[in-house]
Amino acid sequence: MEIITGLANGFAVALEPANLFWCFVGVFLGTVVGILPGLGPPATVAMLLPLTFNMNPAGAIIMMAGIYYGAKYGGSTTSILLNVPGESASVVTCLDGYQMARKGRAGAALGIAAIASFVAGTVGVLGLMLVAPPLAKFALSFSSPEYFGLMALGLAMVVLLAGRSMVKALLAALVGLWIGSAGTDLFTTTSRFTFGQMELLSGIDFVVVAIGIFALGEVLSNIESREEAQLLPAPKGLKNLLPTVQDLKDCRFAFFNGSVLGFLVGVLPGAGSTIASFLSYGVEKAVSRRPEQFGTGVIEGVAAPEGANNSETGGALVPLLTLGIPGSGTTAILLAALVLWGFKPGPLFIPENPALFWGLVASMYIGNVMLLVLNLPLVPLFAQVLKTPAYILYPLILGVSMVGVFSVSGSTFDLALLMAFGLLGYLMRKLDYPSAPLILSLALGAGMERALRQSLMMSEGSVSILVSRPMSAVMLSLAVLVLMIPLFGRFNAWRLRALEQ
């Protein structure tokens, strides 16, 4: 009953003309961003974040979430027509999607991708709606040691799945903690790592780091080559985009598999939509009556991963909103956005901001319908976006990044920091250091330190408090186990194989 009332109130918020408009802007931008290879959702959300500071928070979070899940829809277009994933979650769609397009079935592939995204995206929102409120109630019993354990586990999971080298992923996470420590220590008012700069006393703005690492780093990385990919023609007309009844029958299990697996993987910190799409593709292939045909243009091979990467969005918002723990780069930026708008994601977020939470949930139902409408008949139009020359696109991204940072503080010092973090982001890509652990530990660092120090204050300096409470003991043990995986040959081989795929 509580859920139905909440959802009804949520629709009242989401259907306000201004919020409908921002929802449309979000999903439209998300689709464009998803289509453009080399510009991912974290970079876009980070770039546009400063421009939302003067917006109504409900409209702003609805738009940001729209970019997040909209990009998942758009990502399939380039995978199918170009064999280049628009974003990492669409990598696996290339396997069968591009083969279908080469056989003249691009329309059916694009159509089933949109339909699977819609079905699974809606199931993901349903899961968010059903799981988040009870989880938030459960998390009310958490104290500082449990929060420290939870954040350590989240960070450990991200480190585990961030890249081939866990040493590099851990180092990236530790550098994130260091960047997050710069400024005045709120417990003792000691200035830390400020290098005598007044501007650093209040710390380094999360937005500056996120835009630098993701947007600038991505552009610099892409600008290395001038190569253009070969685009297959996009089918015209709605009729050519609709899958046949047989196609839909073939995809029945894929819809279910993508929806459920995607949501479950989304709830886990660190796993993310790329893992979700690969897992659901693997499951689909394992249960298929024609596994040998996977990779040659099988329609379930498009439906399952596309469904999973959309359902994952709903799952990823569960720990973000109820525990304040993001599981990926994009959700870490969304966490920072919520904090900057004056909210505190965690167990009290839903009871204290029911209109915002339910408004967001309702907007995601509406956004998924908008995306289905946008992505079916307008695919040929969106495909034109791919023809934007890189020499126009990249200066635009660089300009919006700089304007975004300057609009936060009006300080050219922050622009200089942006340049430094842009270079860091580029070097990290070049040297194979994953950026997600850095951003995540930057987002969680202050909270982690606070939780640890508060725990030790509670226990008068005894670290046993972290292991004497059952929940924190379990979470810290799991975190340690996760970090020890490279020491177990078989598990590490599995991890490396999954990452290589």
Binding site: V175, W178, R192, S225, L415, K430, Q454, L456
Partner: protein, 154 residues
């Protein structure tokens, strides 16, 4: 030649991170580790500083012990394009005070189009002017956002 480029990135980044870790440890040891109220300002940084030193040592040592044929190579020739763009961008930020955002950004756009993508100079000038004008119309004009202003007043 190949021997010089082999995995030098891991080695040098490991050494740089070790230096960073050592700096963090030295700084943290100057702040209170424990106070009567609980952990001090140096408590958390000291531990992650030590972890950075230890992990970067692992990275450096494992890199040195690796057989050369297994080492990762980096195409340093492509790095030049990215670093040139970064330098142009950094220079444009330095020029914000005298020239303002619009002129500085138009110059960096011109550089990207003409030098990085080798488009005709006329096209580069057209793209640079159009993008700078577009930024002016969207941000200061339509959205009311302030951009860095130069001595010319815009």
């Amino acid at each position: 030649m190949e021997g010089k480029t082999r995995n030098s990135g891991d080695l040098w980044s490991g050494l740089a991170l070790a230096a960073l870790g050592a700096y963090i440890v030295v700084q943290a040891s100057r702040w209170d580790y424990l106070t009567p109220e609980g952990p001090g300002a140096g408590f958390f940084p000291l531990w992650y500083g030590i972890a950075i030193v230890a992990l970067s040592a692992v990275l450096v040592v494992s890199n040195l012990r690796q057989r050369s044929s297994l080492r990762v190579t980096i195409a340093w020739d492509r790095v030049g394009r990215a670093l040139s763009t970064w330098l142009a961008l950094a220079l444009s930020v330095a020029l914000f005070k005298p020239l303002g955002f619009l002129i500085s950004f138009a110059l960096v756009t011109y550089f990207v189009v003409a030098v990085m993508y080798r488009r005709p100079l006329k096209i580069a000038a057209l793209v640079a002017t159009a993008i700078a004008a577009g930024f002016y119309l969207v941000f200061p004009f339509a959205l009311g956002l302030a951009l860095p202003v130069g001595v010319l007043g815009f």
